[in-house]
Amino acid sequence: MARAYFMAAMNQALRAAMEEDETVIVMGEDVDRGVFGVTRGLIDTFGANRIRKTPISEAAFVGGAVGAAAAGLKPFAHVMFSSFFYVAMDQVANQAARLRYMSGGQVELPIVYFAGTGPSGSAAAQHSENPHSILMHTAGLKVVMPSTPYDAKGLMMAAIRDPNPVVYLADLRLSRRRESIPEDPYEIPLGVADVKRQGEDVTVVALASLVHVAVDVAGKLESDGVSVEVVDPRSLVPLDWDTIVASVRKTGRLVVADPARRLCGLAAEVIAGVSERAWDSLHSRPCRVTWPDIPVPFSPVLEGRLDVGADDLEQAIRTTMGSPVVAGSA
């Protein structure tokens, strides 16, 4: 065990995966240095043939990963900021996410599309997207978004070994998180949620950096006698409905905390999906705490207004707990 930062944990997994499998390569802009640190130092070990610095041509290397995967490589494509997925969206949504299906299962596309994601402090509208809901809706892409260095390493290993395109989103708000993790490689399977805190009264499904906000709020509410269970889905496709639903069946209440816009977002999905699967156990109105439906603004004050804060979450939990409004009571 040794302490590792969030991005360094992913770096460890990527390094291990490159050691175990010669067909794993890295492509992206400035990946020798690595803007976020995930690819840093790899070029010294693996050389320029496997660590490929690309021009600023997202469509070419994101789409190139599809052809490379179909022809025998396991590309790790470093898209940098997740806003840049839009620049190569055809290659992600029409090609990577479709080729296996359209071929009737002939081809495997073991690709990892990695990007730092979300607001990171006044990076403004074109560097702060959280596009996970859009990518979930696309079909054909697995989507991962971890909350801790430990999970980040294990999920990265699984993402690289997976025979499908996996979008791996690293919440930039977690960059400074650090914890002890095993030095040897390990894998956390995609599609398995993690209960980050046990509780009895209300389930909070929280994503990425909001997991920690949720755990903090849970701690605070404990003293008020509210027992909060925090479920971290970790991967969004596949989504671990079993764990989420089991938690809601236990608590009877649901709050979803998603660092993303509201309309057609993950939070809506979790509420709709739980309604379908566990309607009879919902003892009060499920709530979502999300961004408003606006682009991400620049000024710290405005970005703060967009962010989901501890207060927002606490408020939502209290609402859910406080007035046990029963469906159909009107």
Partner: protein, 323 residues
């Protein structure tokens, strides 16, 4: 060139033509679902280019992909079944005309997105390069696709990494219902020059010329000397898509079509085989008949293949992990 080789080229071109004419007939009969774009008149491009490729080499194709697939060795029976949406189709009915794929033959797929295959071909070249294989990828794309920005990105990437990719533009004079030159600045093949990519044009209705020029490009690529951009000048003898006359009025003159019919790549090659290589008409006729027979059988195969069961729609989204 050996008579065998010549006849193989002829056979492939004929196979494409007969396949496409059958497809047109079936479409008129209402038997084929979805969009169908045929390759009639352009056979020399695909056949000439693929004739210098190995099974382990790759191609990427377009919405007008039947010819590329047949040229690269695809079997007309599962192709036809795919067009019919049947379980024995190449893609088990999931892809259809615009998405025929046979990875075992290096066919990385027809593509419904104009320009969609260009990055993919580049990536296939990356795989050859990284793995130290001497494979080559031929990227077919249309003259219309030459206005998609991915072309610039691919040419640059292929140039700096000396990728073994041949970018082969099929200048068939049209993009849908618009003459390409109306909306295309300059000559397409010149677009490779600023990148230092070997760039040239070729008569796309002359299968031997295509074979020669693509052959040289493929050899260069195999030797690690990098990419080439080739513009093959040809003509789409049929419409953009089958059934288009129901919703578009005429957009080209009969004279224009006739002038290109006079340069039909198959007729031309057939004449050459007879006059230049002394191959008898009877020999060629028997090839025609064999191919006609094969295509007819493909239709029987397709029509007797079952539809996939509806729930198969749910399969093949993801490959099983650890598979």
């Amino acid at each position: 060139m050996s008579p065998d080789t010549l006849l193989r080229l002829y056979r492939r071109m004929v196979r494409i033509r007969i396949f496409e004419e059958k497809v047109q007939e079936l479409h008129r009969l209402g038997k084929l679902p979805g969009f169908v774009h045929v390759y009639v008149g352009e056979e020399a491009v695909a056949v000439g280019a693929c004739s210098v490729l190995r099974d382990t080499d790759h191609i990427t194709s377009t919405h007008r992909g039947h010819g590329h697939c047949i040229a690269k060795g695809a079997d007309v029976a599962p192709m036809m079944a795919e067009l019919f949406g049947r379980a024995d189709g190449y893609c088990r009915g999931k892809g259809g005309s615009m998405h025929i794929i046979d990875t075992s033959l290096g066919i990385l797929g027809a593509n419904g997105i104009v320009g969609g295959g260009i990055p993919m071909a580049t990536g296939s070249g990356i795989a050859d390069e990284v793995l130290g294989r001497d494979g080559v990828t031929v990227c077919f794309f249309g003259d219309g696709a030459a206005n998609q920005g991915v072309l610039l990105e691919a040419l640059n990437l292929a140039a700096i990494w000396k990728l073994p990719v041949v970018y082969l533009c099929e200048s068939n004079q049209y993009m849908e219902f618009t003459p390409t030159t109306d909306l295309t600045a300059g000559r397409i093949f010149r677009r490779g020059e600023p990148f230092g990519v070997a760039s040239m044009e070729v008569d796309g209705n002359d299968v031997l010329e295509v074979r020669r020029v693509v052959g040289e490009a493929v050899d260069r690529a195999r030797r690690g000397e990098g990419p080439t951009l080739i513009e093959a000048i040809t003509y789409r003898l049929s419409g953009h898509s089958e059934g288009e006359s129901a919703f578009v009025s005429a957009y080209r003159t009969e004279e224009e079509v006739d002038s290109w019919k006079a340069r039909d790549p198959i007729t031309r090659f057939r004449d050459l085989l007879q006059t230049g290589a002394g191959i008898s008409a009877a020999r060629l006729d028997s090839i025609d008949a064999e191919e006609q027979e094969a295509v007819n059988e493909a239709v029987v195969f397709a029509e007797s293949s079952p539809f996939p069961s509806p729930d198969e729609a749910l399969d093949h989204v993801f490959a099983p992990a650890g598979g």
